[in-house]
Symmetry: C2
DNA sequence: CAAATTTGTTAGAATGATCTAACTTATTAC
DNA sequence: GTAATAAGTTAGATCATTCTAACAAATTTG
């Protein structure tokens, strides 16, 4: 069984994996706020327990066993976030820290019960998919708002960044998942978008914001 | 801030404290399933951080700081047990293991919200008092059923032991907190008691059981 | 109270997770 | 295609938590 620390490495590897499933030691170390030698030695030890594949000077890859373990940790994290929001009345900007701790609890029945109470949700409060209890995660193909065109109507479905600051910004603009946005125009100079939604007839979103908003194009 | 391990030592000290607030190294070690040298060295290190008072060859005592910290961990444990039973549908025999892990979560808002949703409970599902958010715990003076006399009517209010096996035994006899028992007789040979309650007109409880049942005498 | 037993301590070692300093390999930029 | 930079590794140390073996103090018991 993976230790608390090992679980954090597995989750980081899972989240950092590129399209080839590879993660550099450097990225891993930065993501976990540890030194490169620390990440290096932990990767060697994860290899011994068959969680990762690794060769000197090459990027790290999760084994199927490692992938499943990591996905199940992510599952616990996202189920917890959903539970905190839907059943305990927390805001989507408040749940990350707590979920970061609860994801390490070893108690299948606890998370199964959450899942049940929530009606087996497939996404978390930030629109990220929840892996199933076998560690399989469905792929969504959402579009960054930044790549959409004036005239399009879209629905906000997920975020690429869920930092407290960003979530609080979205709260201040009353932007929630599910909101339908009409793209009015794009400013050529800074790529900011002018959109309208609900009672907001004109709201400007910077490129920094619009590239973090994932949408489904409605028309 | 106390580490996960330190928190477990503080909690053990809190639970093992006798009327003078003292705990022997031996009891501490047994309770945590570690060797005596381990307990000894941890006690020395807890002393350095002002969690405990300690002198060579003397029993250990929690400082006020240590007592409060321990009580707040116990508070988190018992609130969690209550939440699992009342809000998530778990049985009282299923909640100890999970609460043992969740008690280490650092997230005041999470536990405050539980407390609120539960209506600020003062006892956990096994009748044990929940310390308040300042770490103060009210003292109840319950009587072990084993010391009661035939003819008395009592109400089951708490347990001195909450092992899964004992709780499952109580489930099998439909004995829940709040149940009113009438003591019919006592067997002189083994001190077992014959009681009646609800639809059970005659149930024999061994001394081992009756001394673990805490009651309030009604008449 | 002296012997036996229990309890507590010291010393020394192991493991997991981390660091810095120094060095090596790989990549990027002229 | 070298020189500079970035990325990765090794070596060696530290800290927390644990152990066993050996010894010492305190308590219990005949």
């Amino acid at each position: 069984m993976a230790s608390f620390t090992e679980e954090n490495y597995l989750k980081a590897l899972y989240n950092l994996s590129n399209s080839h499933g590879e993660v550099s030691i450097s990225d891993l170390a930065h993501s976990l706020a540890v030194s490169m030698p620390t990440a290096n030695s932990m990767v060697k030890s994860l290899q011994k327990s068959d969680w990762v594949l690794y060769e000197k000077y090459k990027p790290v890859t999760l084994t199927p066993k490692g992938q499943k373990e990591a996905a199940l940790i992510v599952r616990k994290h996202r189920l917890t976030e959903m539970f905190l929001v839907k059943k305990m009345g927390f805001g989507w900007e408040e749940v990350h820290e707590v979920a970061e701790q609860i994801e390490h609890i070893h108690a299948p029945k606890f998370f199964d019960r959450m899942d049940e109470m929530l009606g087996h949700p497939t996404i978390d409060p930030h629109g990220s998919p929840i892996p199933d209890n076998q560690g399989r995660m469905q792929e969504f193909s959402y579009t960054p708002l930044s790549t959409c065109k004036p005239g399009q109507t879209v629905q906000l479905t997920a975020l690429t960044n869920s930092s407290t600051e960003f979530l609080e910004f979205l709260n201040s603009r009353k932007l929630a998942l599910g909101t339908q946005l009409k793209i009015l125009s794009r400013e050529a100079y800074d790529q900011s978008l002018v959109v309208s939604y609900e009672s907001h007839s004109q709201e400007t979103l910077s490129e920094k914001v619009s590239e973090r908003l994932l949408v489904r194009v409605l028309e």
